[in-house]
Every structure is written in structure tokens, then in C-alpha cells.
């Protein structure tokens, strides 16, 4: 039995754990530069996480097991998702067993428990955050699935490895369905990872916050895990987008040199993705909550148009 894929798999999971704070640090640094502020350095997220791990956990009196269990679950699903998305190699054991629908479901589980935990304590903010989160989820998940189905149709498979390979080898450069799916994916990613037109990760303003409202009661290592998982989620969405729409450079030969090359490409793609993200975030203002239906509605529209143009035009 070939052990090489397992090694790549483990390496990849470790890589995701390691670089996701750096990626978030990179995005924050870019944002600071673009706004003319001095940065705290790309390593600041690591320091934050370390500090939180060192602190005590302070639990509310009426917190149930759900509240204590959620951080571990959220972190666990993020790690698992990190093993599914092809980054270093196409040939991953986890990717062979779990397809893209499982990936969406993993994110959904994490979200479900986060919202439960938000309501568990019974504070006003937690409940408000949870309700908002669920509003977004109910709109973004269908759109997400629609976008993914479009890609799966084009690749004739829901397995991520398969999709990457098909798109990699395909001759067609300009596929309207892929373009639409990509646009939809960008919009959904912004909503799913709580970035600017939908949610602002940098504020605790009670009128607008969504994700931060749910995790307001967490402290110590619980908060560290959730924050870390959030960073991983952002990185993973970036990597997923890169894998689905710009798969060039991902290794499918199964050699160490190939894996290294993929790593270089991955870092380059993440860096570029960060720039794009910052451009979007500085270019747009945060939307009112009521306009989110329009935002996610257009994401759904794009995804559906992608699927239709697959049938009509290809």
C-alpha cells in the first residue's frame, strides 16, 4: 500500500493549521496598508491565539454541554475540511471518501452548533446573532449548492479531486457556466466567512454584528479554538476557490517535488486572493441587513444562470 498520499494528507492538514493565522494576518496587514495605518505584523493572529490559550475559561452559570462542546466541534470540522480540499495534491485519501457535498455539510454542522451555542446562554446578543446567522445561511446554502452543482455538472463528478483533474485537463478556456459559478462563489464566500458587505469581522457594534454576536460569551481556549477555526474557514474558502476555478499548479503526479511546487503555487494564490479580498472590502460598504436577501439572491441567480448556461450554451 502506498503511504505517500497519507503523508501528503497529514502534511496538508498541518499546513492549513499553520498558515491560516498567517493568511488572516496578511489580509489585515494589506488592509492597514491600503488605509494608511501601521500594521501589527502578519504574526499578530498567532500571538492572539497563544494569549487566549493561556487564559482561563470563564463559563456562564447556565451554560450547558452544547456551549462547552461547540468550540471543539467547530475546530474539528474545520480541520476535517482542511483534509478534503485538494491543495498539495489531488490524490488525498480523505478527498476520495468525502465529496464536495460533505464539505458543505461540514460547514453547516459547524454553523448549526455555533448558533445553538449563541442561544444557549440566553443573552440578547447571542440570540440576535444566531437569528441573523440563520437568515444568511438559509439563503447562502442553496446558492452554494447550486454553484457547486454547476461545477459538478461540468466535471461530471462531485468529488473534489475529480473536479480538479477534469478542469485542469479541459481545453475549454471560456466556459460561461464556470464564470457564473465563480461569481456566485465569490459572493457566497463573502457571506459565509463574514466579510465586509455582509458582516464586519473587525467590529463589535451591536447593531450590525452577526458572527461576533454569537461568540460574545466565549473566553479562553474556547474562544481561541473558535477564532482559529474562523481563520481556517477563510483560508479554506480561498483554497477551495483556487482549487475549483484556478487549479493550475496542484500536483497530480504524486511526487515530493510536485507537492512542493503545489505549495509554492498555493501560497502565491492565497497571497493574490488576499489582495482581491482587501480590494473588495475596501471598495464596498457594509450592507444593511435587509438588503442581504438581494445580495444572496443575486448569488443564487448567478449560480442558477451558470447551471442554465451549461445546458443552453455548452
Amino acid at each position: 500500500m502506498n503511504v505517500y498520499p497519507f503523508i501528503t494528507e497529514i502534511l496538508q492538514i498541518l499546513l492549513v493549521l499553520a498558515i491560516s493565522p498567517a493568511f488572516v494576518g496578511w489580509v489585515r496587514a494589506l488592509k492597514c496598508w491600503s488605509q494608511g495605518r501601521t500594521t501589527a505584523g502578519m504574526l499578530q493572529p498567532y500571538r492572539d491565539i497563544m494569549k487566549l490559550f493561556a487564559k482561563d475559561v470563564f463559563l456562564a452559570e447556565n451554560a450547558s454541554w452544547i456551549f462547552r462542546f461547540t468550540p471543539y466541534l467547530v475546530f474539528g470540522t474545520a480541520v476535517l475540511a482542511g483534509g478534503i480540499i485538494p491543495m498539495l495534491s489531488v490524490d488525498l485519501p480523505l478527498s476520495a471518501t468525502a465529496d464536495v457535498i460533505v464539505l458543505v455539510a461540514l460547514f453547516a454542522i459547524a454553523r448549526f452548533f455555533t448558533t445553538l451555542a449563541g442561544m444557549d446562554i440566553g443573552t440578547a446578543f447571542g440570540g440576535m446573532g444566531s437569528s441573523r446567522e440563520m437568515t444568511i445561511a438559509s439563503l447562502s446554502e442553496p446558492a452554494m449548492l447550486m454553484a457547486i452543482f454547476t461545477i459538478s455538472l461540468a466535471a461530471r463528478s462531485t468529488s473534489l479531486s475529480q473536479i480538479v483533474q477534469v478542469i485542469y485537463s479541459g481545453q475549454s478556456v471560456l466556459r460561461p457556466s464556470m464564470a457564473f459559478a465563480f461569481l456566485a462563489f465569490v459572493l457566497i464566500s463573502l457571506a459565509e466567512t463574514g466579510r465586509i458587505p455582509v458582516d464586519n469581522p473587525a467590529t463589535h457594534l451591536e447593531l450590525t454584528m452577526i458572527h461576533e454576536a454569537m461568540i460574545l460569551e466565549y473566553s479562553g481556549r474556547h474562544l481561541a479554538l473558535i477564532e482559529w477555526a474562523g481563520m481556517m474557514k477563510l483560508t479554506l474558502f480561498m483554497a477551495l476557490g483556487a482549487a475549483l476555478f484556478f487549479p493550475w499548479g496542484i500536483d497530480n503526479s504524486g511526487s515530493a517535488a510536485g507537492a512542493f511546487l503545489s505549495l509554492v503555487f498555493l501560497l502565491l494564490k492565497l497571497a493574490a486572493g488576499g489582495v482581491v479580498l482587501v480590494l473588495i472590502e475596501t471598495g464596498l460598504a457594509k450592507m444593511r441587513l435587509f438588503r442581504l436577501t438581494e445580495f444572496l439572491g443575486s448569488a443564487f441567480l448567478m449560480a442558477t444562470l451558470g447551471m442554465l448556461s451549461f445546458f443552453i450554451l455548452e
Binding site: 471560456l174 460561461p176 436577501t293 455548452e314
Partner: protein, 245 residues
């Protein structure tokens, strides 16, 4: 006189097909560019359907014209139909430059530049739009099966653009918006002609362009009439003619 003198014009058929040889690969790429532009045209149609600002609408309309004109030129190149170049230039000058300019001037003159229109239920409108796309796809199925042109698959998109223009005219209540919907509908028709048959005969296309031009002047006059009579361009104000009274 023997024969139709219109078809004897220098740009007519006769010159063309044999001049260039295209490999399958080229045709393949052209078909892809073509369908990609079709997708963009459809996207702009949807954009117009939900765009609230008059100004943004005109921009979207101009972009649609750009994609349409590009598409026509590419089809003309691939198919060796040189009269399509004329249609392409006509589209570019009429629908990208002249009409947006006229609308622009009118909007400035009437001081409605910053007006924002209320649209009821955007998601619902979008869903209807999607349903219309599917409907057009089914409707044009027999044509698609019979045709062997590179552009045959875009006919469904063209019909969808026509239908979406229609939907836009029904759902929107602003006179300018309705006119833009009408023009978008006209774009869809032009696109249909290009994709089903590599364009109508030149004399017909010229005539249609003339009609659009006259229509443009008429709606320009209308905007002023409506504005001076009703003090707004909201068509909902015009509801005096009803049945039975």
C-alpha cells in the same frame, strides 16, 4: 430589372466563404467566445431587471450593446458574412453611443439623474426571469435541432433577453426604465437574428435600425410631455383611463 438589387451590393453574398479557411479549433474557440458573450448579454439583461438607478441602467444597456456588437462582429468573421460587420458597427454607434447619449441628455435635462426607483420584490422578479430562461430554452428547441450554425445555441439566450425585456417593462413603473426595457428587448431581437440566421438581410436590418432611431426621438418627446403634464415620470400616475367610466 433582373434579381433583387439589394443583394447585389458589394457587401452582399458572393464574396466571403471561400476567402478564409478555418480549422475546427478556430471554430471551437469562436463558438466559445460567442457563447461567453451570450452569457454576458444575459447577465446584463438580468442586471437591468434589478438595477434601481436610472444611471446604472443606461450603463448596463450600453454594455449590453458592446457585447452584442462584439458578438456580431465575431460571428461575421467566423461565418464570412461581411454584412454582419455593418450590423455590428450600426449596433455600436446606435446602441452604445447614440441612444445612451440621448438618454443621458434627457435625464440631465429633466433632472432625474439621482432618482431611485422602488422595485417590488427583487428575488421574485429574478425567479421569474430564471423561469423565462428555461421557457425560452424549451421554446427554441426545434430550431436548435434543425440548425447547424455555430451560433445555434445562443438563440435561447436571445429569446430569453426578449422575454426579460418584456418582464422589465411589466414590473417597472418609470417611463425611462420602460423605454430601456423596450430597447433591451430590441437588442434581444437583433441577437436572435444573428444567432438563428447570421443576421437578417441588410435592408431589413437597416430598416429596423431606422425604426429604433425614430422611436428614440418619439420617446424623447414623450418624456417631456409626461414630465410637464404629470410632473413625474412615474407611469403609475397615468391611470385615468379606466374601463367603464
Amino acid at each position: 430589372m433582373e434579381g433583387n438589387f439589394w443583394s447585389l451590393a458589394p457587401w452582399g453574398r458572393g464574396l466571403g466563404e471561400g476567402y478564409f479557411q478555418y480549422s475546427d479549433m478556430n471554430l471551437h474557440i469562436a463558438a466559445q467566445i460567442n457563447s461567453f458573450l451570450a452569457a454576458l448579454v444575459l447577465l446584463t439583461a438580468f442586471g437591468m431587471l434589478v438595477q434601481k438607478r436610472v444611471y446604472g441602467l443606461i450603463h448596463l444597456f450600453a454594455w449590453q450593446g458592446v457585447f452584442l456588437s462584439l458578438n456580431t462582429a465575431i460571428v461575421g468573421f467566423v461565418a464570412g458574412k461581411h454584412h454582419l460587420y455593418i450590423s455590428s458597427v450600426l449596433t455600436l454607434s446606435l446602441k452604445v453611443v447614440l441612444l445612451p447619449y440621448i438618454l443621458h441628455v434627457l435625464i440631465n435635462r429633466l433632472r432625474i439623474r439621482k432618482e431611485v426607483e422602488t422595485i417590488v420584490n427583487i428575488p421574485m422578479t429574478m425567479m421569474i426571469g430564471i423561469a423565462l430562461v428555461i421557457f425560452s430554452y424549451h421554446l427554441t428547441a426545434p430550431v436548435r435541432e434543425l440548425s447547424n450554425l455555430v451560433t445555434r445555441s445562443t438563440l435561447a439566450v436571445a429569446l430569453a433577453v426578449v422575454m426579460i425585456g418584456l418582464l422589465m417593462m411589466i414590473t417597472r413603473k418609470h417611463a425611462v426604465t420602460q423605454i430601456i426595457g423596450f430597447l433591451a428587448l430590441e437588442n434581444g431581437l437583433f441577437f436572435a437574428a444573428t444567432s438563428a440566421t447570421y443576421g437578417m438581410p441588410l435592408v431589413v436590418e437597416l430598416g429596423v435600425a431606422l425604426d429604433v432611431l425614430i422611436a428614440a426621438f418619439i420617446f424623447g418627446i414623450f418624456f417631456f410631455h409626461i414630465h410637464t403634464t404629470f410632473d413625474t415620470l412615474d407611469v403609475d400616475q397615468m391611470a385615468r383611463l379606466k374601463e367603464g367610466d
